[in-house]
């Protein structure tokens, strides 16, 4: 077969891969067909990689094979992490994807120079800037999620000015390079400034905003791959990058809506330093607390219970105890469901995978709107490690920083129980009036231990 005919054949493999990628995402729409989607994606990827390995342009396989082995060696353990570590794994994989796209763009430049056209230079510069800033930004996000770096927003005066200047500098260098692609000295400076901008961009963002940040970085990683497709004239990359980019973008929009904030506000308006003043005014208010025995008695007497999990459940690794609670209550004939706020946890859908891992059936997991329509008929709303997403101030208090954010209306339930370590305000430092309601019982303690105590009480009681 001539090399031209081979090329044509390979092109068909790529077209099949693109179709399979779209099917993969389509089948992901329902948990019933989702695994078929993964298989479609795998076949598509295998076809594309297989076809590429047959490409007659390749004349040396040694480094390819070594790199593939290293990649598999890193990828398999990263695929086996615990579900609580999925947010940081995801951030790390955005970093890898962006690193890869940036490296290829950089290599293209150095291989092509001095024959790089201005048009190509513009494409390469943009691609390498987005790839580089996504790489460092994602590493910082992963570091924060892994708690290697402080989760609190790190801010200093003039921060936004410094960050935007860095971005502006990178873009100016990109323009200079586009005017004269042979100014090779500028290229590494541009990469360096873009890398620094990635760090500056994510460092000031707090842990509670991570769902939006991860989604945005996902989007950037996708668009950098699509831009790389333009640089290399590779249609598979353009399609895969556009799919990934639009997916990340949609998720970012959903996350922003769920927090009633704009992109600019998330990226440049570090959360969590406001509100120090109103805390003093509320200290005198009283709260009612309850013991595990009392909580167990109330739960056993309920007919409908809605559990609202949050990041605190993930931190305390309480999801398996929650599953035991679900089992024992279900056995007693109590209807137990879970209300999931879109930004609960550290990434989109985080609570769902944690509860699924604990073997809680997914038809028990309600989206926010469904949960809110059930809450008025609910006897007990049990809040485990969630705070801001249940704060009624978001509905009523126009001075609250979270005013306007859609919340789970747990205060509509007959009784509210909140498992919490102490009365200290939540991550965003916003006081929660829910805790002072007459119908609210505070259950002070570690989420895992407290739920365990309730379970013991409930299963002990059934034997008498």
């Amino acid at each position: 077969m001539t090399s031209f005919a081979t090329q044509q054949l390979l092109e068909f493999a790529f077209i099949a891969a693109v179709a399979l990628f779209i099917l993969a995402l389509r089948w992901l729409s329902s948990p019933v067909t989702a695994r078929r989607g993964v298989l479609a994606g795998e076949i598509g990827a295998a076809l594309a990689v297989g076809a590429t390995l047959l490409n007659p342009e390749l004349d040396q396989y040694r480094w390819i094979v070594i790199a593939l082995i290293v990649g598999a060696g890193v990828g398999i353990p990263l695929g086996m992490v615990h579900m609580t570590a999925v947010p940081q794994r995801t951030a790390l994989s955005h970093a890898f994807g962006a690193l890869s796209a940036a490296m290829i763009g950089i290599a293209e430049y150095y291989v092509g120079v001095p024959h790089v056209t201005r048009f190509q230079m513009g494409e390469i510069s943009l691609e390498v800037i987005i790839g580089s800033l996504t790489f460092t930004g994602s590493l910082i996000a992963a570091g924060k999620l892994q708690e290697l770096l402080p989760q609190r927003p790190i801010t200093y005066p003039g921060q936004n000015f410094v960050s935007l200047s860095a971005l502006g500098a990178a873009l100016l260098i990109a323009i200079a390079l586009t005017v004269n692609p042979n100014e090779t000295v500028l290229f590494p400076i541009m990469v360096g400034v873009a890398l620094i901008f990635g760090v500056l961009l994510v460092t000031p963002i707090g842990g509670a905003d991570m769902p939006t940040v991860i989604s945005l970085l996902n989007s950037y990683a996708g668009f950098s791959a699509a831009l790389l497709g333009f640089v290399l004239n590779s249609k598979v990359l353009i399609v895969a990058g556009a799919l990934d980019g639009s997916s990340g973008f949609i998720l970012s929009v959903i996350m922003c809506k769920a927090m009633n904030r704009s992109f600019t506000n998330v990226m440049f308006g570090a959360f969590g330093q406001v509100q120090a003043s109103s805390a003093a005014a509320t200290e005198t208010r009283t709260v009612r607390s309850a013991s595990p025995e009392e909580a167990a008695a109330i739960l056993a007497a309920a007919s409908k219970v809605l559990v609202v999990p949050g990041y605190g459940m993930a931190v305390a690794q309480a999801q398996h105890k929650v599953r035991e609670l679900y089992d024992v209550l279900t056995k007693k004939g109590v209807d137990v469901k879970f209300g999931i706020h879109p930004v609960a946890g550290r990434m989109p859908g985080h609570m769902n995978v944690l509860l699924a891992e604990a073997d809680i059936p997914y038809d028990r997991l309600l989206e926010m709107d469904d949960a809110n329509s059930e809450l008025p008929q609910t006897d007990v709303a049990l809040i485990i490690g969630a705070n801001d997403v249940t704060n009624p101030a978001a509905r009523t208090d126009t001075s609250s920083p979270i005013y306007g954010m859609p919340i789970l209306d747990v205060d509509k339930a007959r009784t509210v129980m909140v498992i919490k370590r102490s009365m200290s305000p939540g991550f965003a430092g916003i006081d929660n009036p829910l805790y002072y309601l007459d119908k609210t019982l505070m259950l002070f303690g570690d989420a895992k231990a407290f739920v365990g105590d309730i379970v013991r009480e409930l299963s002990g009681g059934s034997q008498h």
Partner: protein, 97 residues
């Protein structure tokens, strides 16, 4: 402006809209697997990395290419693997067929 650029731009716009329509339908229940799956699909940049590495033009391009192969292939392997692991965990309360 190269002719390829225009046809690529058409493709990008269309793929973006297809992505938007398809992904809009994904249930929030599966947003975490969605992100890991799109990440695995995005790792298809590995094919560009393979070409750069295999052409063996300069030491620099081979080195950068090999790093890119390793980074994106780890995303591909790990991304598909963890997505499937997560999806296996999603079970209904009703007896399975």
């Amino acid at each position: 402006m190269p002719a390829d650029f225009i046809s690529n731009l058409y493709l990008f716009i269309l793929a973006g809209f297809v992505g938007f329509e398809v992904i809009k339908r994904v249930s929030p229940l599966l947003h975490t697997p969605l992100m890991s799956l799109t990440n695995a699909l995005d790792a298809i940049v590995v094919i560009a990395a393979i070409i750069i590495t295999g052409r063996h033009e300069t030491v620099l391009s081979t080195t950068l290419g090999a790093i890119a192969v390793a980074a994106s292939f780890s995303n591909m392997v790990g991304g598909f693997f963890i997505t499937d692991r997560m999806l296996r965990m999603f079970k209904t309360g009703r007896p399975q067929k």
